[in-house]
């Protein structure tokens, strides 16, 4: 293997490996550097294995409700180890899939930890492999796709100890099964784990600093979701600050402050999910003078950093911390490098999904944000109870909400909570990207019976034409 490439991608998560494939398609000689497992956090410790865990939770929940469907199932039990084993197996398949894709696209995989040194056209990439040996590689372009990790707040004890106090990574393959859990942070990661463990009977308390769960979502959706989560057995404390967290002999102990009133909570374990921070350390960025801002790399709309030949994409460049954002950012970056003219990414058109029970999915502006941006809005809503398919599925709790610009009919945002909404949201994403207005959406014939009919109805509702309520 020669040590000179057109492009070296550092990090093989969904940002990095997709970037490498696209670059190979464009005829570049590409290498990808990975210090752990191909596929990065997403495939190994994030998106995919958690979906495997949550699927187990869903099946288990359905078994418990079997009688509602006229089925009789007795002796339903679960084996935590087997649930986790399945999840690890799914992750393993993902890693193999990426290995295959790298090979198919003739992408050189370099195992080890990368750091950058001053180079000619682009920084040099020094890779230290597990056996401690270092090798130097050169490329015309270097893309950092090093991702992010759980943010920790050591001052408040919000820091993994790997035993009782976990981050997502420990929670994914727990060292022991918890009896009760304190989950700090009610973003997607916190809520998904809370939902997973609660499904298996763990007593879960969610502590959120802000005044509502899933704080990036529309307020109505947050409120709706909170009620459903509580129905599933979650205890939710909003506007609550974590003062301290520590491991004790029997478990964990946390001091929280709710409206100035301090209280002590105990549980067997805790999960810290108070945000994430970019992996920008030990890469030699300081020596190169790469510009960073609050733990993330600063780039232009096409991934360019302030250093010649150095680019960055994905979580390491900041919010939204989403795999699909990372992949797309990488594609745009590589196409721009190849001299194409890709369209700059419009972040407002990237959907976010939370795979809790019920699911939450959204794209664009919330009603409040649209109003804050000075837009005059038209809002439409439709409840799952008005949809035949939802009732047939036994999933009649949920809602679809759409926010239009009252003047132009632009679809500003769509927000959903309920069964399968993570699979539905892309309909609105396509609509937003194609820049359709309420008219085209109203004129579209949605198939019956599907949950997607609710997306139609919500649009009709915004214009006073809703049919099934």
């Amino acid at each position: 293997m020669s040590n000179a490439f057109d492009l070296i991608v550092i990090g093989s998560g969904p940002g990095g490996y997709v970037t490498a494939i696209r670059a190979a398609q464009l005829g570049m000689k590409v290498a990808i550097v990975e210090r752990d497992r191909l596929g990065g956090i997403c495939l190994n410790w994030g998106c995919i294995p958690t979906k495997a865990l949550l699927r187990s939770a869903e099946v288990y929940r359905n078994f418990k409700h079997a009688d509602e469907f006229g089925l009789s199932v007795e002796g339903v039990k679960f084996d935590p180890a087997a649930v986790v084993k399945r999840s690890r197996g799914v992750a393993g398949r993902m890693e193999k899939g990426v290995q295959f894709l790298m090979k198919k696209n003739k992408i050189s995989v370099i195992e080890g930890e990368a750091r950058l040194e001053k180079g000619a056209a682009a920084p040099k990439v020094i890779v230290k492999s597990k056996d401690g040996k270092e090798a130097s590689y050169e490329a015309k372009h270097v893309i950092l796709a090093t991702g992010a990790r759980a943010r920790e707040i050591p001052a408040a004890g919000l820091k993994s100890d790997g035993k009782k106090i976990w981050t997502y990574r420990d929670a994914m393959a727990p060292p022991e099964w918890p009896e009760s859990l304190l989950v700090f942070g009610s973003g997607a990661i916190g809520i998904e784990f809370a939902s997973f463990y609660a499904a298996f009977g763990v007593k879960v308390t969610v502590v959120e600093l802000l005044d509502r769960v899933l704080p990036v979502e529309d307020e109505e959706i947050s409120a709706f979701a909170k009620k459903r989560f509580e129905k599933e057995g979650l205890k939710i404390l909003t506007s609550t600050e974590a003062k301290s967290l520590k491991a004790t002999a029997n478990g964990v102990e946390a001091v929280i402050a709710l409206k100035g009133k301090e209280e002590t909570l105990t549980a067997s374990h805790a999960i810290v999910a108070v945000g994430i921070t970019g992996n920008i350390e030990n890469l030699g960025l300081e020596t190169l003078g790469v510009k960073t801002d609050r733990g993330h790399l600063v780039t232009d709309g096409y991934g360019k950093t302030n250093v010649a030949g150095l680019y960055a994409i994905g979580d390491v460049t900041g919010a939204p911390w989403l795999a699909h954002k990372a992949s797309h950012e990488g594609i745009i970056c590589v196409e721009a490098i190849a001299g194409q003219k890709p369209h700059a990414m419009i972040k407002e058109r990237i959907a976010g999904c939370t795979y809790s029970h019920p699911q939450v999915a959204s794209v664009g502006l919330t009603e409040a944000k649209a109003k804050a941006a000075g837009r005059e809005v038209r809002v439409g809503r439709f409840p799952f109870v008005g949809n035949g398919k939802a009732i047939a599925l036994g999933e009649d709790q949920g809602m679809v909400k759409v926010v239009f610009d009252a003047k132009t009919g632009e679809l500003l945002g769509a927000h959903m909570v309920g069964a399968e909404v993570t699979e539905l949201i892309q309909g609105y994403v396509v609509a937003m990207n194609a820049e359709v207005t309420e008219q085209e959406l109203m004129e579209t014939v949605f198939p019956h019976p599907t949950l997607s009919e609710m997306m139609h109805e919500a649009v009709l509702d915004a214009y006073g034409r809703v049919l099934h309520v």
Partner: protein, 439 residues
């Protein structure tokens, strides 16, 4: 694969035209070069030919439609079983669309049939405006013409961002400025632009009583005259130079020529002689045969003399090309032909577009002296007054002579006073001594 046939720009000044006649109907097969429609422009009626072969799929603009904007699709042409070809063309030559969008009479196809103009109907998405629904609505609400925008979306699709950018551009801002008509006048004057018409007050606002007049709609020629003359008078720094010329010798020579060669169909006018004299004077003072351009002064090789011909509803300026090389008989003959065809709107664009100098003669209407407005891009325009007997002083004694007052309006950016005077002096030399024109 269907392609759009769009309203062609048959002259550089043409912005819209009237679709007077269709020679084909939906379902008809057409071949390249076949006349498919007739279009009336501000200057003339012209035939439109098909560029590609195919079948007329649909007539989009009905016969008799007035004021069809250039580049508006007027019909669709279905190709004959070769869907792949136009698509490939579009993919491999993304530059095709802009080239086609720039209306130029000198398109390659016109070489094949030089006498006629040709429709530029290529396989291009530019025929139909390719825009997102939201972009369309924003454009409609903002009064922005999508046809003038460049799309940044997939395959050149016009998206929201493009319309928003256009709304912020100075041109759109200026259009919006015109709404409060009262205050905008000063502003418009300070920032003149070819695009910005003067703010308009209705006749009633100007004190004319309602019902006391008839409103005659502006036809294309009137619009063109209004636009071009306004622009010229406003934007070209112009000044007149006046001279009196004794034409007794000229009249004698003319009478003799017409008498001697009348049976050969020769009937020279004073105007013909002025054309010839002006052309020769321009060759003697070539710096005056010039046009101002931002890149430099275009000094023309030939004296292409445009002559104003009054026609019903306006005027038109057909051109005697390279008049300095032509004899009086030929100039006279050409002029008669051009004037006749101008009156019947049968001139071809290449017969009235261009030129390096213009002449307007109002002598036959008894006008003694006048100064015309520059016909851009010409550097000068000559205004010829009536020849009349006047008392003149010759050798310190009062005498009678036939005198003619001639004015040239000069574009000061090209022709300074002394240069204009030198030209007039040369011109007078030829008129007062017509024999010199034979040299």
């Amino acid at each position: 694969m269907t392609t759009q046939i769009t309203m062609p720009a048959l002259s550089p000044t043409m912005e819209e035209g009237n679709l007077t006649k269709w020679h084909v109907k939906a379902g008809d097969s057409v071949e390249p070069g076949q006349v498919i429609a007739e279009i009336e422009t501000d200057k003339a009626t012209m035939e439109v030919e098909a560029v590609d072969e195919g079948v007329i799929a649909e007539i989009l603009v009905a016969e008799g439609t007035q004021g069809v904007k250039v580049n508006t699709p007027i019909a669709t042409l279905a190709g004959e079983g070769e869907a792949a070809k136009p698509a490939t063309k579009q993919e491999t030559k993304p530059q095709a669309a802009p080239t086609q969008a720039k209306p130029q009479p000198e398109q390659p196809s016109s070489a094949r049939a030089p006498a006629k103009q040709t429709v530029a109907a290529e396989a291009t998405p530019a025929g139909r405006v390719h825009a997102s629904p939201l972009a369309r609505r924003l454009a409609e609400q903002g009064g922005i013409d999508l046809a003038g925008l460049k799309g940044s979306g997939p395959n050149g699709r016009i998206v929201k961002a493009d319309v928003e950018a256009a709304a912020k551009s100075p041109r759109a801002a200026q259009a919006a400025q015109q709404a409060p008509a009262q205050e905008s006048r000063e502003l418009t004057r300070q920032a003149p632009s070819a695009q910005a018409p003067m703010p308009h007050k209705s006749s009633e606002q100007q004190g004319i009583r309602a019902g006391s007049y008839d409103l005659v709609p502006l036809d294309l020629m009137r619009k063109t005259i209004a636009k071009r003359m306004t622009e010229s008078f406003r934007d070209v720094p112009h000044f007149p130079l006046n001279i009196d010329i004794e034409i007794d010798t000229l009249l004698k020579a003319r009478a003799e020529i017409n008498k001697r060669f009348g049976d050969k169909g020769v009937k020279i006018s004073v105007n013909d002689m002025c054309i010839k004299a002006a052309a020769l004077a321009l060759k003697l003072v070539p710096e005056a045969n010039a046009s101002y351009t931002p890149d430099g002064i275009a000094v023309h090789h030939h004296a292409d003399v445009a002559v104003a011909v009054a026609i019903p509803g306006g005027l038109i300026t057909p051109i005697i090309w390279a008049a300095e090389t032509k004899g009086l008989a030929q100039i006279s003959h050409e002029m008669a032909d051009l004037a006749e065809r101008a009156r019947t709107k049968k001139l071809k664009p290449e017969e009235f577009q261009g030129g390096t100098f213009s002449i307007s003669n109002m002598g036959m209407m008894g006008i003694k002296s006048f100064a015309s407005i520059i016909n851009e891009p010409h550097g000068m325009i000559m205004s010829i007054g009536a020849g009349e007997k006047r008392p003149v002083v010759k050798n310190d004694a009062l005498a009678i002579a036939t005198m003619m007052s001639v004015t040239v309006t000069c574009d000061h950016r090209v022709v300074d006073g002394a240069l204009g005077a030198a030209f007039l002096k040369a011109f007078r030399g030829f008129l007062e001594d017509p024999m010199a024109m034979l040299l």
